[in-house]
């Protein structure tokens, strides 16, 4: 079980464990309530969680058998002041502190996740590689990662003179990029399109780099999900 990086919940109701077999959902601490009895069982908050203490708490409560319930009509409004720098730093930090939670909750071995996949198909690699690797590897196969891998391949193929594979990879890079950034395209406003694509790119890059560095600090290879990842 991996703890989700963003609390993106949409449906009113219980966060049933059978529905979230892969990514453990959580509530942000900006709008959450606990039953005293439940809190007393698992409190206090972990002092080592400089970020993600809300994820940690929800995970521990779910593990202790408590139900988590998302109440859509309990609305809190957040002031949206932000700068690009603050936005990037926020996601860098989320990425950086995330591996601590994996380590804390006993994650080891190799796990590969892809969007839309809700069953744990990587159990077999996990058990195989747990014996082989002294460290853990966690990879989210996201379109964002795909863009970079394909682009790198295209450049390598071009550099060694393999033109056909280079072109294929180049076209694939564009296709995945279009798929991923497609939601930001606004034909009426090229400026808005460029701005949104730019924001999505740099914030994801901050998250990815934060995750890589935080992972190395914890002895994990961690390729983070993107911030818009829906598990």
């Amino acid at each position: 079980m991996i703890i989700q990086i963003m609390s993106n919940l949409f449906e009113e109701g219980y966060l049933r464990r059978e529905k979230y077999t892969l990514l453990s959902p959580f509530f942000s601490n900006g709008n959450v309530a606990f039953r005293r009895e439940a809190l007393d069982q698992v409190a206090p908050y972990d002092d080592n969680c400089y970020s993600g203490e809300d994820q940690d708490m929800c995970f521990r409560l779910a593990k202790a058998g408590w139900e988590l319930y998302f109440a859509r009509d309990a609305v809190v409004k957040h002031k949206s002041r932000t700068t690009l720098r603050a936005f990037m730093r926020q996601w860098f930090n989320y990425g950086f502190h995330h591996p601590y939670l994996f380590k804390k909750h006993g994650f080891r071995g190799l796990r590969i996740y892809r969007p839309g996949n809700r069953s744990d198909t990587s159990a077999i690699y996990k058990s195989l590689l747990r014996a082989v690797f002294p460290f853990s590897i966690l990879i989210f196969l996201t379109p964002f990662l795909g863009i970079h891998i394909l682009l790198a391949l295209a450049i390598i193929f071009a550099a060694v003179g393999l033109h056909i594979p280079a072109i294929v990879c180049g076209v694939a890079t564009l296709a995945v990029a279009l798929y991923y950034f497609g939601a930001d395209v606004d034909v009426k406003s090229p400026f808005k399109t460029c701005a949104f694509v730019f924001f999505r790119y740099v914030v994801n890059l901050a998250l990815l780099v934060g995750g890589l560095l935080g992972g190395l600090k914890r002895g994990t290879i961690y390729i983070s999900a993107t911030f818009d990842y829906k598990g």
Binding site: F27, V32, F34, Y45, E67, V76, A183, F199
Partner: protein
């Protein structure tokens, strides 16, 4: 709604006195009044204390000073000082809708197995720059308008 629960609201804050005033104001307007509000001042250097103390009577507010900086410390201090059966958290840069606490309490009343209830976080639009538009579109946790992604 008549319930037997005592509900505490905990706010951990640092150096956001003016924003905290808005948060506390929103708590005074709740359809289900909090039985107690605990403000944990996490080593602020501004007038956070004065703002909080203004609400002592209207919100049955308890002011707690936590010198050790950091979110987990502040939240733990809040839990220790809260006397409720239900402990709700709201941030100092947020404002609660009128029915916030009532809606948050209902699942606890309905089902004794519910240990945690989370609510929706939406965003105020302050300016009109591209970054803010992007932020609001992407960062809303339980968005009412369906997101493409």
């Amino acid at each position: 709604m008549a319930t037997n629960f005592i509900v505490s609201v905990v706010i951990a804050t640092r150096n956001r006195a003016e924003s905290l005033r808005d948060t506390l104001d929103s708590l005074t307007r709740q359809s289900r009044k909090p039985d107690e509000v605990v403000v944990v001042d996490n080593a602020s250097s501004d007038h956070t204390r004065d703002i909080a103390l203004n609400f002592v009577d209207s919100l049955n507010l308890k002011y707690v000073y936590e010198a050790k900086r950091g979110i987990p410390h502040a939240r733990n201090a809040g839990i220790q000082n809260a006397g409720g059966d239900i402990i709700a958290f709201i941030d100092d840069d947020c404002v609660a809708d009128e029915n916030w606490l009532r809606q948050l309490e209902i699942p606890f009343i309905k089902d004794p197995h519910v240990g945690v209830v989370g609510g929706e976080i939406s965003y105020f639009k302050i300016g009109d720059d591209m970054l803010e538009a992007f932020y609001i579109q992407n960062m809303t946790s339980g968005q009412r308008a369906d997101s493409k992604r």
